[in-house]
């Protein structure tokens, strides 16, 4: 049994090994305090090109002082946080190494992460919520559509004349998920 599994592991192609490598990297960085903080930070998250758009909109929002994980990871227990982080981390890294063809065309919070996010809103905004029920809908984003990623469905750029040659330069190929 163990033998067969080991054989299977060794027969994996290089891309899988890369995946495992990066994952190990993350796990290692997680055990150092500095690494822990770093992997919570907007800089870390946006180190993935695919996170650019969400980072930019976040950075100009009222929530810019927060870190991504303030919203995107559960905070009830540390164990829960890191389990989720590892799960999500595996997902993100997998997609950016092996699974590129499976990256969704439009990024959306998964059902699980939507729940996590919502709970975080509630936790931070207790005082507002205590003061008025504020729980009419399934999620805060039913009303707060643009917190914190969607202040505008188009960047200012769209409302200026195009930069000559920009289409040729970009030719597509950006991984921006806007």
């Amino acid at each position: 049994m163990i033998k067969r599994a080991l054989k299977k592991f060794l027969s994996l192609d290089k891309r899988m090994l890369l995946f495992v490598g990066v994952l190990t990297g993350i796990i290692v960085s997680v055990v150092t305090v500095k690494g822990l903080a770093y992997t919570d930070s907007p800089e870390f998250c946006s180190s993935c090109h695919i996170m650019n758009n969400v980072h930019d909109s976040f950075a100009s929002s009222t929530h810019a002082e927060l870190s991504c994980s303030d919203c995107h990871l559960p905070h009830d227990t540390l164990v829960n946080k890191y389990t989720n982080k590892a799960k999500a981390g595996i997902g993100h890294v997998y997609f950016n190494t092996l699974g590129e063809s499976k990256i969704p065309k439009v990024l959306h919070a998964t059902e699980n992460s939507a729940e996590v996010i919502n709970q975080n809103c509630i936790d931070c905004h207790k005082s507002t919520l205590d003061n008025v029920a504020h729980d009419a809908k399934d999620s805060c984003s039913s009303c707060h559509q643009a917190v914190p990623h969607g202040s505008d469905f188009k960047t200012e750029d769209y409302f200026k004349p195009a930069k000559p040659g920009e289409l040729l330069e970009n030719k597509g190929g950006t991984l921006n998920n806007g």
């Binding site: 590129e100 063809s101 499976k102 990256i103 969704p104 065309k105 439009v106 959306h108 999620s139 984003s141 039913s142 559509q145 969607g150 469905f153 188009k154 750029d157 769209y158 409302f159 200026k160 004349p161 195009a162 930069k163 000559p164 040659g165 920009e166 289409l167 040729l168 330069e169 030719k171 597509g172 190929g173 950006t174 991984l175 921006n176 998920n177 806007g178």
Partner: protein, 451 residues
């Protein structure tokens, strides 16, 4: 940094000739966009639209068009539109093209057009389609609606290649000197997906926008400016003898006045959403088709907090309400045409006939501008319904006037109504699409078009 970027960008070039008009020349440089463009070959229906070449006279579309367009090419053959890639094939095969057709008919189909206009001037617009224009375009190696229609082949900047568009926008007082990126994402489509007519003098493709984009604005233009310049009608209706305006695909005008257009959303946002090609890279989709086939990319980017299935059923509700109302307005318009026919054959005074025909003309404009639009009402639900309402009111004004005169002449209105039902039945039961139009005319309702 941005000014530095600009300079670099401005000097970059594809290496293609500024005159390039073949899509295939772009293939190796932009394989992802080219592949995406190739998807326009796909043929797939949606509930109210789609890309399958089938007749607009089909029972689930608008079966009475052979009556409503009687006397005009649109009563002979008229199909659901499909991918850009078929534009040349479809214009070549359509029975609406006759030996009298002019060059202008090629304007929105072929990449050769901008060069032909430049070279030939007015001789392009008025040139003979079959004898001169088509062969010339073929010899130039044209493509069906292609990269060069929207892009500068050297810089790939978006550009306007059909002068009719710029002229018409400026005539409405819109500054065209430095359109924004967002504007251009509407404008490239606005070159073709618009209402047009052929100038009475030189046959030039002209857009009736001086007074605005709404149906009433364009109608006013046709009743004043166009008439002053000698354009009175597209054809004389064969049932009612009315001088009729044919409306064509006003997608741009309708969208601009609708909820999305007013919110700064553009054609390209829905019809060319960012797409992941090649499993990795993001490009603008170049598969121009129903966004209902790509809702995840086309709609979910903006409507991220809504359930997509619910959103789709919302579109369906809007379209269903719309199509039901359109069919009713068309039906009333049919009645009005036959009532006028009866006025003519009953010897009612010229003056009263003219008066009634003016209502019929207006009524037909107000439903046709809606029927010709491509989104079954979605591009502007309230605006389209408003137009249909005006149409029904005008048709009925004609019918009321006719009723008064016909009763005075002793006509039996009940019999007339029964004859109308019969003629409609004859049209819908005729299975040969090309013969339907013949069934719209009979001994009771003789043809009224001047020979």
């Amino acid at each position: 940094s941005s000014s530095g970027e600009k300079e670099t960008a401005a000097t970059a070039s594809t290496g293609l000739s500024a005159d390039e008009i073949s899509n295939e020349a772009f293939k190796d440089l932009f394989p992802l966009q080219y592949d995406s463009y190739k998807k326009n070959e796909k043929m797939e229906d949606t509930t109210y639209s789609g890309s399958v070449k089938r007749s607009k006279y089909d029972p689930d579309k608008e079966p009475y068009l052979p009556i409503l367009f009687n006397g005009y090419g649109f009563a002979t053959e008229y199909n659901e539109d499909r991918g850009h890639i078929y534009a040349l094939e479809d214009v070549r095969e359509i029975a609406r093209i006759t030996d009298k057709s002019i060059g202008s008919c090629l304007t929105c189909k072929s990449t050769a057009v901008p060069h032909m206009i430049e070279e030939m001037g007015d001789d392009y617009w008025g040139g003979n389609f079959n004898a001169d224009i088509w062969p010339k375009a073929e010899s130039m190696g044209h493509s069906p609606i292609g990269c060069s229609d929207c892009h500068d082949p050297q810089t790939m900047d978006l550009r306007i290649t059909r002068p009719s568009f710029t002229k018409a926008m400026e005539a409405q007082g819109i500054d065209m000197s430095s359109p924004t990126k967002n504007d251009m994402r509407n404008y490239v489509c606005g070159q073709c997906h618009v209402e047009y007519y052929f100038d009475a003098g030189n046959g030039e493709v002209t857009f009736p926008w001086d007074n605005g984009f709404k149906p009433e604005d364009m109608f006013e233009y046709y009743e004043t400016t166009a008439k002053e310049e000698g354009f009175n009608q597209d054809w004389i209706h064969n049932v009612s003898g009315t001088p009729i305006l044919k409306a064509q695909h006003p997608d741009f005008e309708t969208h601009i006045e609708g909820p999305h257009g007013k919110a700064g959303v553009t054609c390209s946002d829905c019809h060319m959403p960012y797409d992941r090609a090649d499993g990795k890279k993001k490009i603008s989709s170049h598969w121009w088709t129903s966004p209902l086939k790509t809702m995840e990319q086309s709609c979910a980017t903006c409507h991220s907090n809504r359930d997509l299935e619910e959103l789709e059923s919302r579109v369906d509700e809007i379209q269903h309400t719309h199509m039901k109302a359109l069919h009713k307005a068309e039906d009333i318009s049919i009645t009005s045409h036959y009532y006028i026919n009866k006025m003519i054959t009953s010897g009612v005074s010229e003056e009263r006939i003219k008066e009634a025909q003016q209502h019929v003309r207006k009524a037909q404009w107000f439903w046709d501008i809606v029927a010709a639009e491509s989104a079954a009402g979605f591009h502007n639900p309230q605006g389209a319904m408003d137009s249909l309402k005006v149409s029904s009111e005008e048709s009925f004004a004609a019918i009321k006037l006719a009723t008064e005169e016909l009763v005075k002449k002793g006509v039996d209105i009940k019999e007339l109504d029964e004859e109308i039902e019969k003629v409609k039945k004859a049209v819908s039961e005729e299975t040969d699409n090309f013969k339907k139009k013949e069934k719209a005319i009979n001994d009771y309702f003789p043809a009224q078009q001047p020979k």
